[in-house]
Amino acid sequence: MSARLEGELLEVSMGPQHPSTHGVFRMNVALDGEIVVKLKPVFGYLHRNHEQIGERTSYLGTMPYTDRLDYFNSMSNNWGYALAVEKLAGVEVPERAQYLRVILAELSRLQNHASLLGFLLSDMGAWGTPLMYAFREREKVLDLFESLAGSRMMCDYMRFGGCRVDADAAWMERAKKIVYDFPRFLDEFEELILENEIVIARTQHVGRVSAELAISAGITGPMLRASGVNYDLRKVDGYGFYPRFKFRIPLGEHGDTYDRLMMRVLEMRESIDILKQAFEAITPGPITNPKVKVRGFRPPAGECYGRIEGPKGELGFYLISDGTGTPYRYHVRAPSFINLTILEDMCLGHTVADVMVILGSIDIVMGEVDR
């Protein structure tokens, strides 16, 4: 049969209330039968005016707000913001604080990637079970955050030129135990899920992104590296103490959903390596820079763009200071938001059921997308 039945396109509004849109994301999808022919994302359902509030608040006052950007990774967000302000004001960070930052950022990468795997498999129809396993591991890391910073999710931990509280020896021991135990979860998870025939059928050759398109679209993080582009800010910028650690950057070959899924698993193993080295290298010492004023902190006039490799991609903060206590302009370069740029290109020609899987593999958090 070569003749095709020509019918009307079916327009579906997926979201903002949808079990698999990771919050309040919405897509206006046009379907030809089951095949996606057009997809327009609609944003703004969680636009909380983060940037404007940041321009009204003191530099330090914005720190707790950054927790609520990507609410899975408050530690990484804190670091990104602290890094940008430290660059703006020319602040040095003591050694122990640098190690603590690496440890906490890598711990949040672990729990972010673990949760992502759970959510992604939920989107694929493995409803509940993988998420339960992932959240079991996540809770362990959250316990660490809680005993250190006082809060499970909104840690508000980093300060300009250091960290807020020090981790004691008992905390380090607990963290070590969790990190050394973590590969067991990964082995179990890989065995249980990643060799599963259905997972492979649902993810391989789905939502392919070429390296050229990924770079042009500003894709960053595991999603860019799944397309085979070796660009990890921990290596490129070498911020913090990352140049002191030995770790590899996993790269994908096909840029499909399966590669993006595997990227997270492999990155978790590298994070564990970094953590093990950090536990060995960390030495006692001060965790704050005494030269930094907590009250009345005023960076000199100027501007600065600081970025870190967050678990979701390049998290950048652009600050313009006019010499007063509040930034003149405060802009967040959110990886989740920009990684969505080519969602339509990825979904075209796939079935509507694949849209959820592709979206899940991008790893978005609405707090960061809409800010």
Binding site: G44, R48, N49, I53, P64, R68, Y71, F72, L131, F135
Partner: protein, 207 residues
């Protein structure tokens, strides 16, 4: 608790192996132990809501694990997170689509009052401007235990609802609206900015 049955007689009968109950008690017992929440997360609090439903906190112990993606099958709306002005009409519409009896938990500072984002131009200063709320949980985000507490409070509230008489539950009164007007997108703000039938801001005496 039960109307008309003497507690002493009831306990006496129970010793004899006769269990006496009332329609209301049975009905409320069934309702409160199978509350189906709407699977609907808005922001950060939704992650804690998921954590509550996941392995460690296990909302299933209280009969609330059946998260329904469709409002038509849900009894409880957990407003978990910041309600923006762009999202508010959708939240009200979802509430309207839920069948009676329906309950609302405002989870977190944002859902209660706008929370830390209260001064944002696109943030609704509390979901209770448009729909009635049964239980408020403060916190940013509230811990899973706090959500469990709210859930138990809601169960208590359901258990105390009367089916007959002057003090019968609101949802049984035919004149009580179960749907509320959906705000429209205006040129500068939502129209209307709040529903005066629902929202009565407390009066504060202040110098």
């Amino acid at each position: 608790m039960s109307e008309g049955v003497d507690e002493g007689l009831r306990s006496e009968l129970q010793k004899q192996g006769v269990w006496v109950t009332s329609m209301q008690e049975l009905y409320n017992w069934g309702r409160k132990n199978s509350i189906w929440p709407l699977q609907f997360g808005l922001a950060c609090c939704a992650i804690e809501m998921i954590a509550t439903a996941a392995s460690r906190y296990d909302l299933a112990r209280f009969g609330g694990e059946v998260f329904r993606p469709s409002p038509r099958q849900a009894d409880l709306m957990i407003v978990a997170g910041t309600v923006t002005k762009k999202m508010a009409p959708q939240v009200v519409r979802l509430y309207n689509q839920m069948p009676d009896p329906k309950y609302v938990i405002a989870m977190g500072a944002c859902a209660i009052s706008g929370g830390p984002f209260k001064q944002g131009y696109n943030v609704l200063k509390g979901i209770d401007r448009y729909i009635p709320v049964d239980v408020y949980i403060p916190g940013c985000p509230p811990r899973p235990e706090a959500l469990l507490h709210a859930f138990m409070e809601l169960q208590r509230k359901i258990d105390e609802q009367k089916l007959t008489g002057a003090g019968k539950a609101e949802f049984l009164k035919p004149q009580q609206p179960s749907e509320f007007p959906v705000p429209a997108f205006g040129a500068h703000d939502l129209q209307p900015p709040s529903n005066p039938d629902v929202f009565r801001p407390p009066h504060l005496e202040r110098a």
